[in-house]
């Protein structure tokens, strides 16, 4: 079953058009078409290896598309200079390979690289952006610490702060809640929502936690079987049928007794549900 939206959003900020993505030499995704609308949080879900990270990399312009193209406000991303691209799109990868002995403040200040001139030091706007980003992720206490000394969750938040310091209208986040405790998972997703609502950012976020996706995303794109399997509001997409096809699990929707929000419960075993 496939749900796709045909409505052409006039406020499309980022769009995939006939997009195919390679991981190494293998094509993992093909024929991807969708729009990211201004001001929305678009969740990207799919089981391991379906190409969420690969798609984000291509959307961010970090890796080239294998076919088709990414459109940034209607312009092909490949024709945008890398500097201009980084001013429009901030991408925070899932893991950063090498540990680094940069200070937290220095790591976050790297987000200002696309705004800096050669030779130019850190100007007032940059200082402000860095301080603001650190405040948003609740990491002001760690400014002068080395990145190496941080816990996994603090590292994730520092990297997110670097993305925020870029002050780009589009934010692509690859599993930003990894390594975070539940309080910071919720805080981070609330922050993501707030960025969209009050700071006019647009966010595409890959998530493993479907319940977080259901709670915080405006729309959800499901990747499965080498393509875009479903796209729509959480209610439209996170149905037992889609989740069964895309993840191979049995899902039940329940209403939260206090908030009234819809949540998902999962089982792997048919016999548990239909004894």
């Amino acid at each position: 079953m496939t749900i796709t939206e045909s409505r052409v959003a006039t406020t499309s900020v980022l769009a995939a058009s006939g997009l195919a993505c390679n991981a190494g030499k293998r094509t993992v995704l093909s024929d991807i078409d969708f729009d990211v609308r201004a001001g929305e949080v678009l969740g990207l879900i799919g089981s391991n290896g379906t190409g969420k990270s690969t798609l984000l990399r291509v959307l961010a312009g970090v890796r080239p598309a294998a076919a088709g193209q990414v459109l940034l406000k209607g312009r092909p991303l490949s024709s945008v200079s890398s500097r201009e691209r980084a001013r429009q799109i901030a991408f925070v990868a899932q893991e950063e390979a090498a540990p680094s002995d940069l200070l937290v403040s220095e790591m976050v200040a790297l987000g200002r690289v696309p705004h800096a001139r050669a030779w130019g030091g850190i100007d007032e706007a940059s200082r402000l952006a860095v301080a603001n980003a650190l405040r948003l992720v609740d990491l002001e206490y760690a400014v002068q610490q080395s990145m190496d000394r941080l816990s996994g969750g603090e590292r994730r938040r520092a990297l997110l702060a670097r993305g925020l310091a870029q002050e780009a209208p589009v934010l692509l986040l690859d599993e930003p809640t990894n390594h975070l405790d539940i309080k910071h998972q919720l805080a981070l997703m609330r922050l993501v929502r707030r960025l969209c609502q009050t700071l006019d950012r647009t966010v595409v976020v890959a998530l493993h936690d479907l319940d977080l996706a259901a709670t915080f995303c405006d729309r959800i794109a499901v990747l499965h079987d080498g393509g875009l399997f479903a796209l729509g509001s959480p209610d439209e997409v996170l149905t037992p049928s889609v989740l069964h096809d895309a993840f191979g699990v049995l899902a039940t929707r329940v209403r939260h007794p206090l908030t009234g929000r819809t949540h998902l419960l999962f089982s792997h075993d048919e016999r548990e549900i239909h004894p």
Binding site: G61, R85, D101, L102, E106, W119
Partner: protein
């Protein structure tokens, strides 16, 4: 201006004056100062002193400063390029290529028409040809990625060294082996004023370019994807870094031979002192590298008078323990888990 640079700058001046006093005939500091003043409009001094200080020793001290600074800067650039703490300026095959050229000059007498410049010219030619080869092969096999560069550079270095050894082996000249060895281990003994301008200009240009790109280099050191996401044109930056270090190291090796350890240890030392940001660490590496090599050269001149020890012997003896101490520090983790 970082605090350390303001400390290191006067220290550099002091080093030049003090180091120039050392040699076959030790000169007191005031004689050196008087001789320098004499050159800059002060009272003229004894011609003998003037010759020793101005014509013989000062070019050598200054060449030591330039070569030491250049190697440290090139080492820092290569370590960022390949994101490997064990990388040194010679990783990319430049020095072994230079050694083939120099060995060919010493054993086969090629380029003999160039006279005094033959050795430098041979080394420079070898260095540049080797870099072109490393660059071409790495590009053909998938681009200038750290892994490609390390593998290609290491493998080709071994091959070039074999060629150089073969040239020495088949040479009829009994002195050849020793000349080649002495050249390979590095020396500043050939320093003249004419020899100074090329390495100085190359170093100055490289330094300015690296400082201008310091933000990009910081991002590249964190990782290629991060750098790309921050708007750094990664392939172009890598190509630029490769060409810049190849030319810089080629020129340095051509004038001073293959001086080891400076380019490996000094970048680490400067990161340890002022942190990993290139804007801060490159100037410190340059000045510290210059000061270090000048004093190494002093030690090499006076340790076993009247002969001179090759510089790599001294840098190795000092560099190895220093590097071990650096590696032992748990808080320092450039490019990998400790």
């Amino acid at each position: 201006m970082p605090v350390l640079v303001t400390v290191l700058l006067p220290l550099t001046g002091l080093t030049v004056v003090l180091a120039t006093g050392f040699g076959a005939e030790p000169l007191p500091v005031h004689v050196v100062v008087d001789a320098l003043r004499g050159r800059f409009g002060g009272a003229p001094v004894d011609t003998a002193y003037d010759t020793i200080v101005w014509d013989i020793r000062l070019p050598r001290t200054l060449l030591g400063l330039v070569v030491g600074a250049g190697l440290a800067v090139a080492g820092a650039a290569v370590q960022t390029l390949v994101r490997n703490p064990l990388a040194d300026p010679y990783l990319l095959g430049v020095s072994s290529g230079a050694s083939v050229g120099a060995t060919a000059v010493i054993t086969l007498g090629v380029l003999s028409s160039a006279g005094l410049w033959a050795l430098s010219l041979g080394a420079l030619t070898g260095a540049l040809l080797a870099s072109v080869l490393v660059f071409g092969i790495a590009m053909l096999q998938g681009g200038l990625t750290p892994l490609r560069l390390v593998l290609t550079g290491t493998v080709l270095s071994a091959a070039f060294s074999s060629v150089a050894s073969f040239l020495v082996f088949k040479s009829a000249e009994p002195q050849a082996a020793q000349s080649v060895l002495f050249w390979l281990l590095g020396s500043l003994s050939g320093a003249t004023w004419e020899m100074l301008w090329l390495p100085t200009a190359t170093l100055a240009t490289s330094f300015v370019l690296l400082m201008a790109a310091s933000g990009w280099l910081d991002a590249l050191a964190v990782g290629p994807d991060t750098a790309a996401a921050l708007g750094v044109p990664v392939p172009a930056l890598r190509t630029g870094l490769f060409v810049l270090t190849a030319v810089l190291v080629g020129v340095l090796v051509a004038v001073a031979g293959g001086i080891g350890f400076v380019g490996l240890v000094l970048p680490h030392l400067s990161r340890l002192l002022v942190g990993p940001r290139h804007r801060a660490s490159l100037p410190v590496a340059a000045l510290a590298g210059g000061i270090f090599l000048v004093w190494v050269d002093v030690a090499a001149r006076i340790a076993v008078r009247p002969t001179e020890i090759p510089l790599s012997v001294v840098t190795g003896l000092i560099g190895a323990p220093v590097f071990l101490i650096l590696l032992g520090r748990r808080t320092y983790r450039f490019g990998g888990e400790s």
